[in-house]
Symmetry: C2
Subunit: 191 residues, 2 copies
């Protein structure tokens, strides 16, 4: 998606360790107009006519997923993050490792809101190691629901998450895939 790549080129900051900061328009200060355009763009890549719900994980996926759900006329569910020792009943759960917080967290969705009849479109802002998305896919499986696809704003193509998901047969579309990012600039994967 050219509009997104332009913003990353113009405003993205590359920090040591391959960290790409886009917190001026994606995940701290948020340009909702750009996110709404992303929600529209996903419709070109996925058949969402049968989807029944948009699923994301708190917190940074919520803004994009909200605009997707609103555009497609679907409910949104966001998985909550809890410490891995937090145990309750009636919950769908998946343990993931958070590279941001450097600890295990558990993604939780109430079993009340995700059913075997659901067809789920997963949305997230970032894909790097793919732990959050692996966890969301596991929750869809645990619910006995069907995965329609996974829509991501920015994928770090030099980290393994995207490759793992595609090899697992997930219908994944990232609107911008960063092939490399260093002091020389940001290079996107050709599509």
């Amino acid at each position: 998606m050219e509009l997104l790549k332009e913003r990353i080129r113009k405003e993205g900051k590359v920090l040591p360790g391959g960290i790409i900061k886009v917190d001026g328009f994606l995940n701290h200060k948020v340009d909702t107009k750009l996110l709404a355009a992303m929600a529209e763009e996903f419709e070109k890549h996925f058949d969402l006519s049968e989807a029944t719900v948009v699923l994301t994980a708190e917190a940074s996926g919520i803004a994009l997923a909200t605009l997707c759900a609103n555009r497609y006329g679907l409910p949104l569910i966001y998985a909550k993050k809890a410490k891995s020792d937090n145990i309750e009943g009636g919950l769908l759960r998946s343990e993931i490792y958070s590279y941001t917080y450097k600890k295990k967290v558990t993604l939780l969705v109430s079993a009340e809101w995700l059913k075997p009849t659901d067809k789920v479109f997963i949305v997230d802002d970032f894909l790097a190691n793919g732990e959050a998305l692996r966890g969301l896919c596991e929750i869809v499986s645990a619910a006995g629901a069907e995965l329609v696809g996974v829509g991501v704003a920015v994928e770090k193509g030099f980290q393994p998450g995207g490759k793992k998901l595609r090899e697992a047969g997930v219908n994944l579309k990232s609107l911008a895939i960063i092939e490399s990012a260093d002091e020389n600039g940001i290079i996107f994967r050709e599509e």
Copy 2:
């Protein structure tokens, strides 16, 4: 806002200790159409013509604040929650007590994104003890910015947050104020 009150009456669950669960449409599974109607409703109560940014706190405020920002054509900023020992530079911060997590948390906003020239509309899904909103107001002050008003979806009128904010002169509008909630049902404040 009658539409919201109807949903709370129909789908809200009252748990012991005055806890009101509305996680089927507001803060876990989310009815974005209802939230979009709330964003529209705020326009009847606030003059947002001069506002420059919508501010909320992660995670449960983000969905409503996103639809507000998108409707008003404004950027969204969401304050991040960190443990209170997490110290970095260039940040606006406020220490609050989280009754949900029963611990102190620090609300953080990058000083890069909130400036003295900003006129801020704060949005949140819930108002009970008012700690999150007090923290967001403090961050607006710390930035030297101007507070336009505070829009809330559901206020628990039997807890002190709303009263404290109003007494402090904050222009606060809650779309539904719950006066009492117990096994006999939910009673709203007359307006």
